[in-house]
């Protein structure tokens, strides 16, 4: 991964890119393998390679103009390229990096790969690997191509909005903690793409300062996401070590058993939701402000679309808050839902220290953002020529500490007020004892939202009550609700069919006769020689 980021030529970049895919696939398989696991890794690899092909193609399209894959020469060459080629490069890069970043509908591998990967690997994949894709896209769109027509910005904006909304909606419906977090990666990539798209729109309308603002927002969110998502995955790892499950329905009451994990996890939850005083808020706030600044443009379309995105991001934020109330509330609070959760042990010291460090970083950026915004602002000035330091980055750095003083001061004063405290069991409406079965579960908690957005989920419900002859006095009721992913099937089926039929055609070439294989090699050699001869 480091190779990818430090590479200064296209070739090194591509090698690093491929290496990253293969190593991460190996890491996913580290914890044993089964048919299902191998199937999921296969999907992961296939989508990665399709994406990598697009990236390679977009690099090679530069070649006829730059004559080298050196980043510097690509940059100088891109200015003189025809518009059609630039469009093609942009689209290829968008699809290629989008696959790695997991924007919807190219996200299929994310919820499949994450649950089976070991938690530290998940943290690494979600925290760093997705970021390399964002890095690659920023490299292409801003550094190489230097922006584009305004529609390219709207395409990115649309991808961001769709990924953000669907990502968070799918996340709410999940109760497998790691898959839920994977869907939240989709959501956060969506927010990052919203920032990038806004920046591209501003760039197309010659508003460099605002473009820098949106770009800073996106980059800061990228960094923030790396922090809190790693923290969340480490927390999930600690939970799975302690209880051997990451199913939210089996957890509960962990806060009392694992106080440090719980506290750091809570900080991560607040951060990802974008609550003030935590780091997610700073980047979301900057994104909001750049949307609002869209009204300053003279183009009518941008004036309408960008401010409306405020509503989209607000909806994403609101749903994310609902989702993490559910995650933290069901996993850490209340009573344990299972024996394992009841006897959970706190994570080892090293892990606690790691999580504490990440949590401290989240709080630091959340309360004193100025320190991080300054280097980002100068970076944005490199990527967006002619941009000053956006005024918003300064104002947020100035106001947030005051708000923190206010909230903490009033809260502290309120905390000093209280004195006597008495432990009494929660009233159980006259029943002898409350049991954990009476608590809200994850599925129950998300039911209203799933009901309201049922057009998105297209649930497949089935209720069976036994015995069948007494419908009103059932002994057992079984209920099953599955989210159908109809659009995924509709989108991917043609591709899969096409590839399968192509594979069948190719099978005919594979006769099993070694001489035929030798013939293939010979023919390839001859045709290559002929190609050289006639080209020269």
């Amino acid at each position: 991964m480091i190779v990818v980021v430090t590479a200064s030529t296209g070739f090194a970049f591509l090698v690093g890119w491929e290496l990253m895919t293969l190593v991460s696939a190996g890491l996913i398989l580290m914890e044993g393998d089964s048919t299902e696991r191998r199937h999921n890794v296969f999907i992961y690899l296939m989508m990665m390679h399709a994406g990598a092909a697009a990236v390679v193609a977009s690099f090679f399209l530069f070649l006829p103009y730059s004559h080298s894959l050196d980043f510097a020469s690509i940059r100088t060459a891109s200015a003189s390229m025809p518009a059609g080629i630039r469009t093609l490069i942009f689209l290829l890069a968008f699809v290629g990096f989008g696959t790695k970043a997991g924007i919807i509908p190219l996200h299929l591998w994310l919820p499949r790969a994450h649950p089976i990967a070991p938690s530290p690997v998940s943290a690494l994949m979600s925290g760093v690997m997705l970021k390399t894709a964002v890095y690659g896209f920023v490299r292409f769109a801003f550094d190489f191509l230097g922006g584009g027509p305004s529609w390219s910005g709207y395409v990115v904006l649309l991808a961001g909005a769709v990924s953000g909304l669907l990502g968070v909606l799918y996340a709410i419906a999940e109760h497998d903690l790691k898959r839920l977090l994977a869907y939240h990666s989709v959501e956060n990539i969506g927010i990052i793409y919203l920032g990038l798209g806004t920046s591209l729109v501003f760039l197309a309308h010659q508003a460099p300062v605002l473009a820098a603002l949106a770009l800073i927002a996106a980059l800061l969110h990228t960094f923030n996401h790396a922090l809190f998502k790693s923290l969340l995955f480490l927390g999930a790892g600690a939970i799975s070590n302690a209880t051997h499950t990451v199913d939210l329905e089996e957890l509960g009451g962990l806060q009392r058993r694992m106080p440090v994990t719980g506290a750091t996890f809570l900080i991560a939850c607040c951060s990802i939701v974008g609550l003030p005083l935590f780091n997610g808020f700073i980047s979301e706030w900057l994104t909001f402000r750049s949307f609002l600044a869209g009204s300053l443009l003279t183009n009518t379309k941008a004036q309408i679309v960008l401010p409306l995105m405020v509503g989209v991001l607000a909806l994403i934020g609101g749903l994310a808050a609902a989702c993490f109330v559910k995650v933290f509330g069901v996993a850490f609070l209340g009573r344990p839902h299972s024996k394992e959760a009841e006897h959970a042990e706190e994570a080892p010291l090293a892990m606690r220290a790691g999580m504490g460090l990440l949590a401290a970083a989240c709080l630091w950026i959340g309360i004193l953002p100025g320190f991080f915004l300054r280097p980002l602002a100068s970076l944005a000035q490199v990527l967006v020529p002619g941009a000053g330091v956006p005024e918003e980055t300064l104002s947020i750095a100035r106001i947030i500490p005051w708000v923190a003083v206010f909230v903490l001061g009033v809260g502290g004063a309120a905390a000093l007020l209280k004195h006597r405290r008495k432990m009494v069991r929660t009233w159980a409406c006259g029943l002898p004892e409350l049991s954990s079965r009476m608590q809200y579960t994850s599925t129950a908690f998300s039911k209203p939202i799933r009901f309201v957005f049922s057009t998105v989920y297209k649930p497949d419900r089935k209720v069976e009550s036994l015995p069948a002859d007494q419908p009103y006095f059932p002994a057992t009721i079984s209920y099953r609700s599955v989210r159908t992913t109809s659009y995924e099937k509709a989108l991917y089926r043609p591709f899969v069919d096409l590839i399968l039929s192509a594979a069948h055609q190719l099978r005919r070439m594979q006769t099993g006769n070694i001489q035929v294989y030798l013939l293939y090699i010979f023919l390839t050699l001859v045709s290559l020689l002929m190609f050289l001869r006639f080209q020269g």
Partner: protein, 313 residues
């Protein structure tokens, strides 16, 4: 001097909040031809709760005790954003409306967690419903405020108020009408008032906010109740400041401030009476009609944003 007045403004909102509740309750009682309790009753309630002991379930963690404190801190900070008698406030000069909305979200997040920590079914039910209502209310809230902010070309609340003060009272713009309607709807949903949530019910089929606070008692409950009263008052004051700020003191003379304060009380009383009439005249919406209520608010606020452009041409 100005800081002192700003401090005074925040105190008006925080300390006057129980009174707003008391007046609503009294007025509703009158509409229903009851005597009703005194308008000072909420203060007596708070004092009583603060003297009592805090009852905590043995299964709860520190989050349960911590939640009311965060809620109170965040909500009181919101009160410091809203101008009352003159167009500035403690945090209003640089803090913009995004910060305000998300501070409310911070408080709500922790209250929902506290509800889930209680360990009973009611807390989960309240939190789950609150999650639905608040997640859908956030978009119209921000869009409505954004529409007004775009017109004023200021994102900070003080800037918007100053701009509005310079406009003609009779210059009705579509943006303001649409934004006002959607924000009023959001206020009703956010503060848990009548067509969305019934603040006086304890019936498990209907309660949202009351379900969340069911396990709280003593000083914790007092903080929560006070915070929700402050929230209601701050939202009312915000509506007044954004859509009807005329009469705010332009200079810092004692007379001007006094007159502005009186005028504010009159406007707030008017709002409170309208709220009471609406509450008495309407039945609570079925739970799954609330998304439609908020959907209408969202569409209105989106239209308000679109109108900011169409009106400029």
């Amino acid at each position: 001097m100005i800081t002192a007045i700003n401090f005074f403004q925040a105190l008006i909102i925080i300390l006057g909040a129980p009174l707003v509740r008391g007046i609503i309750a009294q007025f509703k009682a009158r509409l229903q031809r009851r005597q009703g309790a005194s308008i000072w009753r909420p203060y007596a309630d708070l004092a009583k709760l603060f003297r009592k002991e805090d009852i905590v379930p043995p299964t709860a963690s520190w989050v349960f005790r911590f939640a009311p404190i965060v809620l109170f801190g965040a909500t009181v900070s919101v009160a410091a954003f809203v101008p009352v008698v003159q167009p500035s406030a403690l945090l209003a000069s640089r803090g913009d409306f995004f910060l305000l909305v998300y501070l409310l979200a911070l408080g709500r997040f922790f209250l929902s967690l506290g509800a889930l920590d209680g360990g009973s079914a009611f807390g989960g039910m309240g939190a789950s419903r609150e999650a639905l209502v608040s997640s859908l209310a956030e978009a119209p809230f921000l869009l409505g405020l954004a529409a007004v902010a775009i017109l004023a070309a200021h994102a900070d609340i003080a800037g918007i108020v100053v701009w509005t003060l310079r406009q003609n009272v009779f210059n009705i713009s579509g943006v303001h009408i649409l934004a006002f309607i959607s924000l009023a709807m959001v206020t009703v949903a956010e503060t848990g008032r009548m067509p969305v949530d019934n603040p006086t019910t304890h019936l498990e089929l209907t309660m949202i906010h009351e379900g969340m606070v069911l396990e709280y008692s003593g000083p914790s409950l007092a903080l929560i109740e006070w915070a929700s009263a402050v929230k209601l008052h701050a939202m009312l004051a915000l509506l007044i400041a954004l859509f009807d700020p005329w009469g705010m003191a332009s200079s810092l003379s004692g007379l001007g401030i006094g007159a502005a304060l009186l005028l504010y009380c009159a406007k707030a009383a008017l709002f409170v009476i309208v709220l009471a009439v609406i509450e008495s005249g309407m039945a609570k919406l079925r739970m799954y009609l609330v998304p439609d209520f908020l959907g209408v608010a969202s569409a209105l606020s989106a239209l308000a944003v679109i109108f900011t452009v169409l009106a400029k041409r």
